[in-house]
């Protein structure tokens, strides 16, 4: 049986599906027996999902215009 601390140490690799079968089954065993770790695992998974779905905000047009102007100036020098 894993401790909660050991579970947490493997959590990132587990959520990224980057653990071998043996560790995976130990981790999955742990969350069936430990409600706290189940919640931490589930809510961390949701955290990642929510951030991945975050809308990319468009670059402000004035910022882009100044970037392009700076580049044009640089390119003209080369």
């Amino acid at each position: 049986m894993l401790t909660c601390k050991e579970f947490l140490q493997e959590l990132t690799d587990y959520l990224d599906e980057n653990v071998d079968a043996e560790i995976r089954s130990k981790l999955e065993q742990h969350i069936t027996e430990c409600p706290n770790c189940w919640v931490v695992c589930d809510t961390t998974k949701k955290t990642i999902r929510i951030y991945k779905g975050m809308e990319p905000y468009p670059i402000p047009s004035d910022v882009e215009a100044r970037l392009m102007a700076a580049l044009e100036k640089k390119m003209a020098l080369k």
């Binding site: 929510i50 951030y51 910022v63 882009e64």
Partner: protein, 205 residues
């Protein structure tokens, strides 16, 4: 998320840009300016600094394009430039040491969750898009810079662990341990907004 599957493909645009084709380089800029600006905003938390970082990144990339080896993705290469520029900005602004990417990370108690409460299945539906952006951005901003950069690259920009390590000049284990900390801290911060209401909060028990 990378635009490499779009037409024209990135490899040929890069070849043209390296041969001095100004239009090809501008095409690369348009592809990545949004992501670089967002990354710079996340690290510097200041629009003026982020704009400087954005300009310096692409000016440097243009200047040193012949040094781009092509054995990593172009985006990973410019991210590395952008992160360095952004950290220099932070160092100029603050004199404390908290902005060092080499800061030693102890995996101590604050990795442990402060609040254990189940969330709704789709907690984001409780908030408008604007509210969600505000909640998510301020949670990321509250992370210390070494965690923030790793989280933004790995989980928002969708770089692999190896690419993130390369972009930030960190080892793979360092990326993993920072990512774990960042994810758990964000989970903790978001619990306040997303936990189930009332009696349902402990429905998993």
């Amino acid at each position: 998320m990378l635009a490499s599957t779009q037409i024209p493909d990135e490899a040929s645009v890069l070849v043209q840009a390296r041969e001095g084709d100004v239009k090809a380089f501008s095409e690369l800029v348009r592809r990545y300016e949004g992501k670089i600006f967002r990354l710079a905003m996340h690290i510097t938390q200041n629009r003026e600094d982020a704009e400087d970082v954005l300009q310096e990144t692409f000016l440097k990339a243009y200047e040193h394009l012949d040094q781009f080896q092509g054995n990593s993705k172009f985006y990973t290469w410019i991210v590395r430039i952008a992160v360095n520029q952004a950290l220099m900005k932070l160092r100029k602004r603050k004199t404390d040491k908290t902005v060092s990417m080499d800061e030693t990370i102890d995996t101590g108690e604050d990795t442990m969750a402060r609040e254990i409460a189940a969330w709704d299945e789709n907690p984001e539906q409780r908030y408008s898009r604007e509210e969600m952006n505000q909640i998510l951005s301020s949670a990321v901003e509250s992370l210390a810079p070494p965690y923030r950069s790793v989280f933004v690259l790995r989980d928002i920009d969708d770089l692999s662990t190896e690419e993130t390590a390369e972009a930030l000049n960190l080892s793979v284990p360092a990326v993993k341990s920072r990512l774990l900390r960042a994810r758990l801290q964000l989970r903790d911060k978001l619990t306040r907004f997303f936990k189930r209401k009332g009696e349902d909060a402990f429905a998993y028990m």
